[in-house]
């Protein structure tokens, strides 16, 4: 733990390019979420207020996602960098404009790993490998899941600002699910290449939690059970024969 704290103190930070990437991604993703402010008529002041609120939420979401990846990477002796995917952002904006904000496509970018020689000295499989990439890539969506769960606790259990925290949870869920898709430049591809079975387990567990929340069942245990069942089914019907 002390070693990790030292690494965080010494190496946690953002490159100028990364700061710019995060800034642009936050602006665009907030626009995608805030495009439809659910009002019958367009009022600029209301839209801007809604946009600013969404901007704050998206900034927290992206920073938590990025922070979790960075800490997980440092723990394993790598440096994680958030890299924007301009094409994904453009696709998201186009889909938003076409569907008038009724459907979200959030593909802002994802993990890029740098090898840190002195932190990896003496490690088995010294270089960047698929297992390290997969576990570090998982940390981001899991951080979003934890944020969403905390905000749901505030909204549904404590009834503190339910609209705000409900919106917070919704944004985190969308962000998390899209980050798990196995598309190049998105985190899901690293998990997919680490292990198909692990991918099925992680994706189905997190998706199950989102679906359970829609049914007002707030349980990580049920989500884990569903994930395990999906893992087993995938193994039985697809992996067993390979």
């Amino acid at each position: 733990m002390g070693e990790l704290l030292y690494r965080i103190k010494r190496f946690y930070g953002w490159e100028p390019r990364e700061k710019r990437d995060i800034f642009i991604s936050v602006l665009v993703v907030a626009f995608i979420f805030a495009y439809d402010d659910k009002q019958p008529t367009f009022v600029l002041a209301h839209w801007l207020l809604n946009y600013l609120m969404t901007l704050l939420i998206v900034a927290i979401t992206v920073l938590a996602f990025d922070g979790a990846m960075k800490v997980a990477a440092l723990q394993q002796g790598f440096r994680a960098e958030y890299r924007m995917w301009p094409m994904g952002l453009a696709i998201g904006v186009i889909i938003t404009l076409l569907t008038k904000g009724r459907f979200y496509v959030i593909l802002p970018g994802g993990l890029f790993l740098h090898h840190m020689m002195m932190l990896r000295l003496g490690k088995y499989r010294y270089g960047i490998n698929t297992i390290a990439q997969g576990t570090i890539a998982t940390a981001g969506p899991v951080a979003n899941l934890i944020l969403a769960t905390i905000s749901l606790f505030f909204a549904a259990q404590l009834h503190v600002m339910p609209a705000f925290f409900g919106y917070f949870a919704m944004i985190n869920f969308w962000f998390m699910i899209y980050q798990l898709l196995p598309i190049p430049r998105i985190n899901g591809i690293h998990i997919f290449f680490m292990s198909r079975l692990a991918y099925v387990f992680i994706f189905s567990t997190l998706l199950a939690y989102v679906l359970l929340v829609q049914a007002k069942v707030y349980s990580w245990i049920f989500a884990l059970l569903i994930g395990t069942v999906c893992w087993f089914l995938w193994y039985w019907f697809f992996e067993r024969s390979i």
Binding site: V93, I94, L98
Partner: protein
């Protein structure tokens, strides 16, 4: 000789034309879904930026198929625009080329990776 299914071979041989047709339909659909001239202009500008990025990525192996597919998309978009009448076709064309130049320029100058 290797393949028994000759239809598949024909499809594979004509993948450029198939891709062009698919993108023509996509352009047409996108143009039909767009509900105002401003949105139409923004969408075509963004599409142009995406094409510019692809152009930059494929600059060393630039082929006629890429031009065909891009032309298919823009022709489909213009046909849809003619049907709906949202936006002026010349503005759409100019914005598409501006977007393409912009996308290529931004990647050339390494603003984006």
């Amino acid at each position: 000789m290797m393949f028994k299914n000759k239809k598949a071979i024909k499809w594979l041989d004509a993948w450029g034309e198939v891709g062009t047709s698919i993108f023509l339909v996509i352009g047409l659909l996108v143009s039909l879904i767009v509900d105002s001239a401003v949105v139409s202009y923004i969408v075509i500008l963004l599409s142009g930026i995406m094409v510019g990025r692809l152009y930059h990525k494929r600059r060393h192996r630039f082929g006629v198929v890429f031009v065909l597919v891009t032309a298919g998309y823009i022709v489909g978009y213009l046909i849809g625009n003619l049907v709906t009448g949202r936006g002026y076709w010349l503005v759409i064309l100019v914005l598409f080329f501006i977007g393409t130049y912009l996308g290529n320029y931004l990647h050339k100058k390494r603003y984006f990776k």
